[in-house]
Every structure is written in structure tokens, then in C-alpha cells.
């Protein structure tokens, strides 16, 4: 009776069908895993791409020199007032430049070479030094060690970002012979074949790659090479330093006229690095400087403070208002048409695109009420309206979680409804309300579009001190830095994103901790 052939459920056909159905089941589950995997992969990819980009901005190159702050140079008019000192950027700049120029006599020869040398450091890079001296005038006449950030193009080269360069050890050089032409000379290098092999491997079409040879503090550019012999043009330093020195080759595939740093500037940078004048240091100025047109000098301080002020306004408006509105709707609202309209309204407002709130702010707050443009006050108000529905919905959920027995108990001993709510229900619901409020604030902190429309995109070089000052916010700073063309802004932008995400993670952690501490099952 258990014959497999007779049992219709175990027939060949039925078993086949069963297998097909089970396979379909497995496939269906597989789709789910693939979908989930895709979403999680996107998350990880996004975060790691940005973290990877940001790591490029965690350090930067500075020139560390000991300067004698001679009064003649930095105070040409003899006036030692703070304003006069900070105004005289040129004096500080020439101090730094002259100190470096003593190392490179060739940079002094022509106007072009001088200009090329000057662009290793942007003029505004000495502003922090000038401000420091203005604050502490007793430094004048003394010798201090200062760090001056290197121009972003050179910094990018030294970090290996752009233009790309390949470093090779090519062994010892020997028997330098002066060539007929001025400045050129001929040397033998141990393992030149490595260089030619690499050049062949790059396979650059058309343009010949630049090859520099570095020996200690001297750098030469290869003009031609033939089996072990090299004709070298000295860019900086002395040719006798090549004699017997271990030589490094630097191959730069992109041609000189297509990049923002010249061979000569690269040579100077390499020489300064060999000397230990150029140092790679943590990029703290990202947090202590305000915005600048030069990437190496720019920082997010003004935007951080701007965001903080904006968030203060948002919190001050949206949290009490949201909690009160929730109390009304949950505890006092009569069941009538008006209440119903309010409810539908709140749900709809939660899904209105944020840019529409920006339009509201632009017409109503800026136009009709005449509030100042670009101010954290306006930004905060707009964001408060934006997150109000979020806060209200969370606060209502928190109120609903308080059991009715609490209210009944309070009413039973003679409390009025208002007293029951404010003395008994509200304290119990408050932690839940706060977590909702923090989540709303996190959303407001990342919001960009409405702030663009009320003018918080202005270039702000000063830390705002009140909610009516001109200001910008972190996400807006990200937007404006991302729109800059220079490549050096990319890691800087990513670094600000990391700061912003870190703040958001902290806020979410606070929510988790609050929930864990106050969570209560009734």
C-alpha cells in the first residue's frame, strides 16, 4: 500500500513539481537576500568611498621654518597696533619666502622663477601667523618656529593624488661629467633600465613623461638617456651631490603643461622635503579655520557655529511647540472637524518637499516680515516648521504610550485635567518626546535645500556671533565646496561630510541611550 508508484503525491510528476516549487521558493528567498545585500552594499560603499576620500584631508603638508620676526619687515611703518600687524600680510609673507629663498639661489634669477617659487605658498597662508603676532606683540623681534601650509597643488602632489608620480630607487650614480651646455651634465646610473621599463609600461601616447632624479637635496630632470648614461639638467641643488649618492627617480606621466605644478616647483618641493622643512601634520585647521578661497587654508568652523546657532533656534521653536501641539491633540482636542483637519494637515506637512519650506521662508520670513537674509534665525525658523510634524508625531506616540490608569489615578484624587497631564503624564512621556525631538533635529541638521533659498550660501569668512549675523551651515558648506572645481576640494568636502555624519551618529547614539535608560514597559 505504500507503493511509491500508486501514491499520487510521490509519483514522478508530483516529485518533479515539488522540486520545482521548492526551487522557486529558494529563488524567491534569494531575491530577498540579493535586494537586502544590494541596499547594505550601497550603504557600505557610500560610507567607505567618502571615508576613503576624507582620509586624504586628515593630514596636510606645511613648511616648518624658524623665523626671526624682525620689526623692519613686519612693521614697516613702525606702528605695532594689532590692526596694523594683521594688515601687513605682505611683510610676513616675505619673511617666509626670503627664508626659503636662501636655500634656492636659482629661484631668484628671473621674474618667472620667482613667481613660480612664490606660488608654493599662498599669500593668505601667513594670516594665522599675523593674527598670532597681533595677539602677542612681545613675539616681535624674537625667533619662533612657524608652520605655513603649502599650496594645495603642491600638497596634492606630495600626497600622491595629482599629478600622479611613480617613485623608483635606481641605485648609485657615478662619474658626473660636465656637458658642453650650461647646467647639463652626464652621469651613469646603476639601474636605469628600471626607469625605461616603467616608462614603457605606462605606454603614454604622444607626450613624453617627465623623469626627475633626486639625490639628497638636489633634483635634476633627465633630458635624454642611453644605456646607463643620463644627460641631466639640474633644477635645484648641486651636481656634485649626485656623485656616489643613492638616487631616486620620479616619473610623472602627465606632461608639464597639463598640470598645475611645474617640474621646477616639484623639484623645490622634493628638495624641501628631503631637508625636512616640509612636514606632513594633522589637519586641525579644518576645525579651527573659517572658509577660504584656498583649500589648504579653509576650515569648517564658521559653518559649525552657524549650524549650532541654527539648531538652537530650531530646538527653541520646534520642541516646545511640537510638545504642546501633541498634548493638545492627544489629551484635550475635542473630536470635531477642526481637529481632524489639523491631523490631516500634520501628516501632509511631514511629506511636503523641504524645498517648499525654503520658498515659504523666502517669501514670508524674508519678504513679508523683513527678517535678515542668510541669518541662522531665519534658517532655524524654516527648519523648525520643517521638523514640527516629526516632533509632533513622536510626541503623540510618547503620550499614547502612557497608560490611561495614570490619568485616571490623578483625576480620581481631584486633579484637574490640566494638572493630570502636566504633573503626571508629561513627566512620564518626556523621554520619549525628547528622543523624537533629537531625531527631528538630526534631520534638520542635514537639511540643505531650504537654506539655499534663504541665502545661507554666502561665503562666510567670520564666525557668526548671533542668530542675526550672516552665516552658513555644514550641509551648505558641503554643497558649496563640492561645487568648486579644484581637485583639492574633494577630500576637504569629504572631511566635512565625515564631521557632519559623526555629529549625526552622536545624536542617534544619544537617542539609543535615552531609550535604553528610560524605556518602560507598562
Amino acid at each position: 500500500m505504500n507503493n511509491a508508484q500508486d501514491n499520487p503525491f510521490r509519483s514522478e510528476k508530483a516529485l518533479k513539481r515539488l522540486r520545482r516549487r521548492r526551487n522557486a521558493d529558494m529563488r524567491f528567498q534569494g531575491y530577498g537576500i540579493v535586494a537586502l545585500g544590494f541596499a547594505l552594499f550601497a550603504l557600505v560603499f557610500l560610507i567607505s568611498a567618502i571615508a576613503w576620500k576624507a582620509s586624504g584631508a586628515s593630514t596636510y603638508h606645511v613648511i616648518r621654518v624658524d623665523l626671526e620676526l624682525s620689526p623692519q619687515t613686519i612693521l614697516p611703518e613702525g606702528d605695532a597696533s594689532p590692526e596694523e600687524i594683521t594688515r601687513n600680510i605682505e611683510g610676513f609673507y616675505s619673511l617666509v619666502r626670503n627664508d626659503l629663498l636662501t636655500r634656492f639661489p636659482e629661484a631668484n634669477e628671473t621674474v618667472q622663477s620667482k613667481r613660480a617659487f612664490s606660488s608654493l605658498i599662498d599669500r593668505m597662508a601667513v594670516l594665522p601667523l599675523a593674527r598670532e603676532v597681533a595677539d602677542e606683540p612681545h613675539l616681535i623681534g624674537q625667533t619662533t618656529s612657524v608652520d605655513v601650509p603649502l599650496s594645495d597643488d603642491v600638497d596634492m602632489f606630495l600626497k600622491g593624488a595629482a599629478p600622479r608620480a611613480i617613485f623608483l630607487r635606481v641605485g648609485e650614480a657615478s662619474s658626473p661629467m660636465r656637458n658642453a651646455e650650461e647646467g647639463d651634465f652626464k652621469i651613469e646610473v646603476d639601474r636605469l633600465n628600471k626607469v625605461s621599463a616603467k616608462i614603457a609600461a605606462i605606454g603614454q601616447h604622444g607626450a613624453e613623461p617627465t623623469v626627475l632624479l633626486v639625490a639628497d637635496k638636489s633634483v635634476g630632470r633627465i633630458k635624454s638617456m642611453e644605456d646607463g648614461d643620463v644627460i641631466l639638467e639640474i633644477l635645484t641643488g648641486r651636481q656634485d651631490q649626485f656623485d656616489g649618492a643613492s638616487v631616486k627617480a620620479v616619473i610623472i606621466p602627465s606632461p608639464e603643461d597639463q598640470r598645475s605644478v611645474s617640474d621646477q616647483q616639484i623639484a623645490w618641493a622634493l628638495a624641501l622635503k628631503a631637508e625636512g622643512v616640509i612636514k606632513r601634520v594633522p589637519h586641525f585647521s579644518l576645525l579651527t579655520h573659517t572658509d577660504s578661497t584656498y583649500p589648504e587654508l579653509a576650515g569648517a568652523l564658521a559653518a559649525l557655529v552657524g549650524s549650532l546657532l541654527t539648531m538652537l533656534v530650531t530646538a527653541a521653536v520646534s520642541i516646545p511647540m511640537g510638545i504642546f501641539a501633541a498634548i493638545f491633540l492627544e489629551e484635550f482636542a475635542p473630536k470635531n472637524r477642526l481637529t481632524q483637519i489639523i491631523e490631516v494637515n500634520i501628516n501632509n506637512l511631514a511629506a511636503v518637499p523641504s524645498i517648499v519650506f525654503g520658498l515659504l521662508g523666502a517669501t514670508l520670513l524674508l519678504g513679508t516680515f523683513g527678517l535678515p537674509r542668510s541669518a541662522p534665525l531665519v534658517g532655524g525658523l524654516v527648519l523648525a516648521l520643517l521638523i514640527l510634524p516629526v516632533v509632533i508625531i513622536a510626541a503623540r506616540a510618547a503620550l499614547r504610550a502612557v497608560p490611561p490608569s495614570i490619568r485616571s489615578g490623578a483625576l480620581a484624587v481631584g486633579a484637574s485635567r490640566m494638572q493630570a497631564v502636566f504633573h503626571h503624564v508629561l513627566p512620564l512621556a518626556l523621554p520619549g518626546m525628547l528622543t523624537g525631538a533629537i531625531l527631528g533635529m538630526a534631520r534638520a541638521l542635514g537639511e540643505t535645500a531650504p537654506l539655499l533659498l534663504i541665502g545661507m550660501v554666502a561665503f562666510v569668512a567670520e564666525v557668526p556671533s548671533s542668530t542675526t549675523d550672516e552665516a552658513t551651515a555644514l550641509p551648505v558648506l558641503i554643497y558649496s565646496w563640492a561645487s568648486n572645481a579644484e581637485r583639492a576640494w574633494e577630500p576637504m568636502t569629504a572631511a566635512v561630510i565625515v564631521i557632519l555624519l559623526a555629529i549625526l551618529v552622536l545624536m542617534n547614539l544619544a537617542v539609543v541611550l535615552l531609550r535604553r535608560k528610560f524605556e518602560r514597559r507598562w
Binding site: A333, I355, T448
Partner: protein
């Protein structure tokens, strides 16, 4: 004297005055009540504090009203008074010129007065500061008078029989109601401001030209055919939904039907993190990583097609910013909007339906496909609608990665522009909303608001009905 008054920091003064009034009102009321209590020993209906609150309330409301009027009307009033005093020469100016002149006077005054060489401007600014100062002085005086009157009136009421608590509670309830009504006020404000500016726009540009015109060139010439923008918005939202709909739905199905409780507990918050990442970050990611990748693959396809002989020129546009890049990243962004709500509705399908299907011998996937998804369909559709409305209204990703050129093209590697991109492009850095160029942004905003509102209303209604069915 009046000029110096013009420099007063009104924000702080108003706040300080109101705080002082409330504090003193409270103490006055309470002290009076206690004094009665000590003297007479009569039993009070309300406790002393409530009498304090009551008096404070009466001290608070009049100055608040005055402050509100000040915020709303002070500047226009001062400017109006100023322009009526201006000498004959100014009346030859056109109203727009006069307006911008007055605006610069107000700005100079806000900076603390004008000390430049333009004597006329200095005089006008000085006079404006005087007017402004007297207005400020008058406001402060009025507030103080109102507060004192209010407190005096309320103080007389304090007596054992007076039901202060009931009055205070009624006042508190009114306050709570006002806070709830802000939601309505916001909606009304949005609709009113969008409508007002849009009507000004449509007075200059015909409505049909705007909706059905195919040439958009608001920045340079006055061409306001928004169809390419609607197309770009639709195209990018479509690409986004092609990513988000399957991924979100299958994630939701897996999480609610297959995943263990542990997996669910860890994976769901991770998925929701996607919704917590600021959109500007997505925009940067799209610009930095996805757009170059899209361009490279489009170029690759082009050269492949040419090599095959299937084409004799580039087929795809391969722009540095593209609809595909923006759409893909936006799709990732809206995944949690689809998955979260779908997850909820799938979970809300009663277990009896599942058990019935299992009892009939259905496999898990058959149960899901034939029983659960049909039952949850309205909710799933609602979640898709909400996600579409998100995608349409999303701004930063498209601003950074979709481009500025308005055109109709089905090539996903080309750059398209959207409603939100144009709003940002038209209004960034603008202060005056008087040209058709700036006003067109509000017309676009109105379209955006109406479309998303319709989507939301339908979605909310569907979800509501669905809930009523199963709960």
C-alpha cells in the same frame, strides 16, 4: 536722542521686557493672594500660584500683541513715513528705484548709521534712524503701558472666591491649541505665498505656455515652457523607482517573512540609516563616484557599438552629470521609504491568512506571492507613492548630479534638469521677487507642492483604509 533710540537692540529688549513683566506679574498676584490668606484666613478656591499665573498672563498678553505688531509693521511704517517726507526730487524716481533706495537706507541704518561722504544719503539715513527710534521708543512705552494695565486689572480680581485656576487652565489650553494650529498656519502660509507669487507670474506668462511649452530658458531669455523640467523630474524619479521599488519591496518581504528575529533587529536599523544620511552627502557621492562611472560606461558602450559597426558615431551623450547617476543614487536614498512602510503593512497582514495558506500546502513563496502580497497591495502601493513623492521633491542629489540643461531626451546618460534644480538655480542669491525669472520658481514650487500633495493624500487615504480593514 531719537537717532540713538534707533540703534536699540529691539530683539533683546522685547524679550527682556516680557520676561520682567511675567516675573513681576506672577509675584504680584501670588503675594496678594497670600496676603489675603494671612489676613483673612478664608479658604481660597485656587492656590496662590494660580493667582500668580493669572496676573502674569494678563501682563504677558498685551505686550506680546504689541511686539507682534511691531515685528510685522514697524519697518514698512518707518519706510512709509520716510518716503512721504522725502523732498520733491525723489518723486521723479520710479517706484522700483525708490524701493531699492529705501532698502539701502534701511540696510545702512541697520549697520549703525551712514558715515560716508554722500550728504543726502547721510541725512536721509539719519532721519530714518530718528523715525525708527521714535517707533521703537513708542513700542516699548506701549508695551510697558499695556503690561501695567493688564497687571493692574488682573490684580484687582485676586480674591478668595476668584477661580483663578480655571482661568489659567483655559488660557493654557488656548496656548496648546495655538501650537497645534501652527500646522494649519504653515500650510496656509505655503499655499498663500506660492499662489500669490505664482499668480503674479501667470499675469505675465500664460498658464498654458508654462504647462505645455517645450522650451525652458528662464535664466537668459524669457522662455518658460516647463515641460522639459517635468520630463526630467519624471525620468529621474522613474530611474530611482526602478532601483528602489524592487530592492525595497524584496528587502521588506525578506525581513518580515524570512529573516530571523536577530537578523531583523540588526539589519532593519542599518537599512533605515540610508534614510538618515543627509541628501547633500548622496549628492556628493553621486557627483564624485557614480557620475564618472556612468560616463565611463556610456563611453565604453559608444566605442563598443562603433567597433561592432552598429553605429557610426557616439550613441549615448555620456555627460559628466547625468540623469542616470542622479536617479541611481536617489533610488538608493528612497529604498528605506519603500521598505519601511511595506514591512509594516506586510506585518499587519493577519497570521490566520498565512496559516490558512500553509495548511493548504503552499510553500512560503507561494503564500507570499498569492496571499500576502495581494492582501498588502494597497499598503505597498501607498509606500511606492510616498517614495515617488520623495523622489520628485528631492533637491540636493539632482542639483549636484543631474545638470542644468532643460531638454527632453530618453538617453539616461544625458544631463536633464528637474523642477527642484531650477527652483534652486533661479532663487539662489536673489533678493527681489519681481521679475518673471524669479517668479517662475514659485510657479514651479506650486506645481511641485500640488503634485506631491496629491500623491501624499492618496497614499495616506489608502493606508488609512488598509488599517481600518485589518486592525
Amino acid at each position: 536722542m531719537a537717532q540713538e533710540l534707533g540703534q536699540l537692540p529691539m530683539g533683546w529688549l522685547l524679550t527682556a521686557l516680557i520676561v520682567i513683566v511675567v516675573a513681576s506679574g506672577f509675584s504680584i498676584g501670588r503675594i496678594r493672594a497670600e496676603r489675603y490668606l494671612i489676613a483673612g484666613g478664608q479658604k481660597f478656591h485656587s492656590r496662590g500660584n494660580y493667582h500668580g499665573y493669572y496676573v502674569a498672563m494678563w501682563g504677558f498678553i498685551p505686550p506680546l500683541l504689541v511686539a507682534g505688531l511691531y515685528v510685522l509693521f514697524a519697518k514698512p511704517t518707518a519706510l512709509g513715513l520716510l518716503s512721504s517726507e522725502l523732498p520733491e526730487a525723489f518723486h521723479t524716481l520710479s517706484s522700483a528705484e525708490l524701493q531699492s533706495y529705501l532698502e539701502s537706507v534701511a540696510n545702512a541704518a541697520a549697520m549703525g548709521g551712514y558715515s560716508g561722504s554722500d550728504l543726502v544719503f547721510a541725512t536721509v539715513t539719519g532721519r530714518y534712524l530718528e523715525l525708527w527710534g521714535s517707533l521703537k521708543g513708542a513700542t516699548l512705552a506701549l508695551m510697558l503701558a499695556g503690561a501695567v494695565t493688564g497687571i493692574m486689572y488682573a490684580r484687582r480680581k485676586v480674591s478668595p472666591a476668584f477661580r483663578a485656576r480655571l482661568r489659567v487652565e483655559r488660557g493654557a489650553e488656548a496656548l496648546l491649541f495655538l501650537c497645534a494650529a501652527i500646522a494649519i498656519a504653515t500650510t496656509v502660509g505655503i499655499v498663500a505665498s506660492l499662489l500669490y507669487e505664482s499668480l503674479r507670474f501667470f499675469a505675465e506668462v500664460p498658464f498654458t505656455d508654462f504647462l505645455f511649452g517645450t522650451r525652458w530658458n528662464a535664466q537668459t531669455s524669457a522662455e518658460f515652457g516647463a515641460l522639459p523640467l517635468f520630463f526630467g523630474t519624471f525620468m529621474i524619479a522613474l530611474i530611482a523607482m526602478l532601483v528602489a521599488a524592487p530592492v525595497g519591496l524584496f528587502s521588506a518581504i525578506y525581513l518580515s517573512e524570512y529573516a530571523s528575529v536577530r537578523t531583523r533587529r540588526y539589519v532593519k536599523p542599518l537599512l533605515e540609516m540610508l534614510a538618515g544620511i543627509p541628501t547633500v552627502v548622496y549628492g556628493f557621492f553621486a557627483l564624485l563616484v557614480i557620475a564618472p562611472a556612468v560616463r565611463a560606461s556610456a563611453l565604453g558602450i559608444n566605442s563598443f557599438l562603433i567597433e561592432l559597426g552598429a553605429a557610426n558615431g557616439p550613441v549615448l551623450a555620456a555627460q559628466p552629470t547625468s540623469a542616470l547617476a542622479a536617479g541611481l543614487v536617489m533610488g538608493v536614498m528612497v529604498i528605506p521609504f519603500v521598505s519601511s512602510l511595506s514591512d509594516d503593512v506586510i506585518n499587519a497582514v493577519p497570521d490566520s491568512l498565512r496559516d490558512g495558506a500553509f495548511a493548504m500546502g503552499a510553500t512560503k513563496s507561494e503564500t507570499i506571492k498569492q496571499i500576502i502580497l495581494p492582501a498588502a497591495l494597497p499598503g505597498i502601493v501607498a509606500s511606492m507613492l510616498l517614495a515617488v513623492s520623495r523622489a520628485i521633491g528631492e533637491t540636493m542629489i539632482v542639483v549636484m548630479a543631474a545638470g542644468q540643461r532643460a531638454r527632453i531626451s530618453f538617453d539616461p546618460s544625458t544631463d536633464l534638469t528637474t523642477i527642484t534644480v531650477q527652483i534652486v538655480a533661479l532663487l539662489t542669491g536673489e533678493t527681489e521677487f519681481d521679475s518673471p525669472k524669479t517668479l517662475s520658481a514659485f510657479a514651479l514650487g506650486l506645481v511641485l507642492f500640488v503634485v506631491t500633495l496629491i500623491f501624499n493624500l492618496i497614499a495616506l487615504r489608502v493606508v488609512q483604509r488598509y488599517r481600518d480593514k485589518y486592525e
